[in-house]
Symmetry: C2
Subunit: 260 residues, 2 copies
Amino acid sequence: MKAPPMKLLRRLKLLIAVSFSFGLVSFAPLAVADQPETRPKIIFFDVNETLLDLDAMKSSVSEALEGREDLMALWFSTMLHHSLVDTSTGQYHSFGDIGVAALMMVAENNNIEITPEAAKSAIATPLTSLPPHPDVIGGLQRLKAAGYTIVSLTNSSNAGVKAQFEFAGLTPYFDQRLSIEDIEIYKPNLAAYDWALKKMNVEPHDAMLVAAHGWDIAGAKAANMQAVFVARPGKALYPLAKEPDFIVNGIDELADKLIK
Amino acid sequence: MKAPPMKLLRRLKLLIAVSFSFGLVSFAPLAVADQPETRPKIIFFDVNETLLDLDAMKSSVSEALEGREDLMALWFSTMLHHSLVDTSTGQYHSFGDIGVAALMMVAENNNIEITPEAAKSAIATPLTSLPPHPDVIGGLQRLKAAGYTIVSLTNSSNAGVKAQFEFAGLTPYFDQRLSIEDIEIYKPNLAAYDWALKKMNVEPHDAMLVAAHGWDIAGAKAANMQAVFVARPGKALYPLAKEPDFIVNGIDELADKLIK
């Protein structure tokens, strides 16, 4: 068994401390295992940050924000928040449009002048030309060769993820691409996972979601799926949600676990 | 008519430009008016940032984050995002607990060591000892004297808002305090507004929500309520949501509009 990174061990230790000290959550024995109990019939992959490296956008976004590279994380958080604001209020706009709106809000809140044209060009082109993380292609190749059915499940639009996969060279590894655009309900709303499961005709416990976002893990576990957290740098789990089934540092490590 | 601040005018101009240039949203003539069409029977007030000054937490939160005052906005955005992650996945934790979890996530994502004890003490005490914005007490006094029914509607817990109001001296001005804790569904989920309207036995168009958050305006308008945006510094509207009925710079200005 590969040891999980120290940072995660520290986080889990803190979680236990939180549970005891403040009664924030009911303490449950650590459920993180080494490998899945049941071989999944379908592996769903989140896309942005899980497979593709969003850091490549840092220069364009920070350039639009007068060099404020530190605002990149706030922009992405604001975009995610407002995707759920849309779903919570019965609205829908594409993830790209919410990204532009979020960038304009972050700019205004920080007294930065930005035109919508600048906001759009800072996001649109870079978002569809993100490179895959270095562990991704090798890992997908091996999972595919081992016979796994591989499906993407993303908040990006259908056209967006098609362009992303073509640029990143990921198209051949996926049996299907699913976008929440088809139902206009953003992850982690449970309806998004339920829809994907029905679409692929698979029971929750036979399906696995792989994601670098704690909120996506929270959603998949609440939908009774298996869930694997990819511990990308700067991506913490949500301490109040159910634990993932296991944690990996990359897709190559996921292949190690799933191919025996 | 008092002119809206230049920043907002600029934003609205940008919104129109966005609508035309990119088809991001369907363009609608600017609906922001000077005063309400119908005198509201009940005025609902959001609490944090709308009435109370969250800036007072900056020193304690930034101290917990090794002096990184720039992470305050990311912490608050992460807290708001994860309140909706909870609601979207059928979970519930108190706003305070989500705040502690968000602070731990922001710390971990920025390689800052923080104990849960430090995260909790950075938030818990300051959150219940926030001062009101300087325009708040005078505005509430006049609205109350003019016979308006005044109700708070907040994501904070019942105990939390009780303590917040006692510290800030707001208790006497409110006919009722409502917390989404009673239904365990966070704003801006439409169920939160619907619940509040039923609870106060008022029709949506007879009720007005006053908030300094674009996402709260989005929710109230989607619930068919009147909505007034309080343009606090660093608080932009969500450009893709319905416009508020009107915009004020403070609660004193709200009283000007509602008392003739």
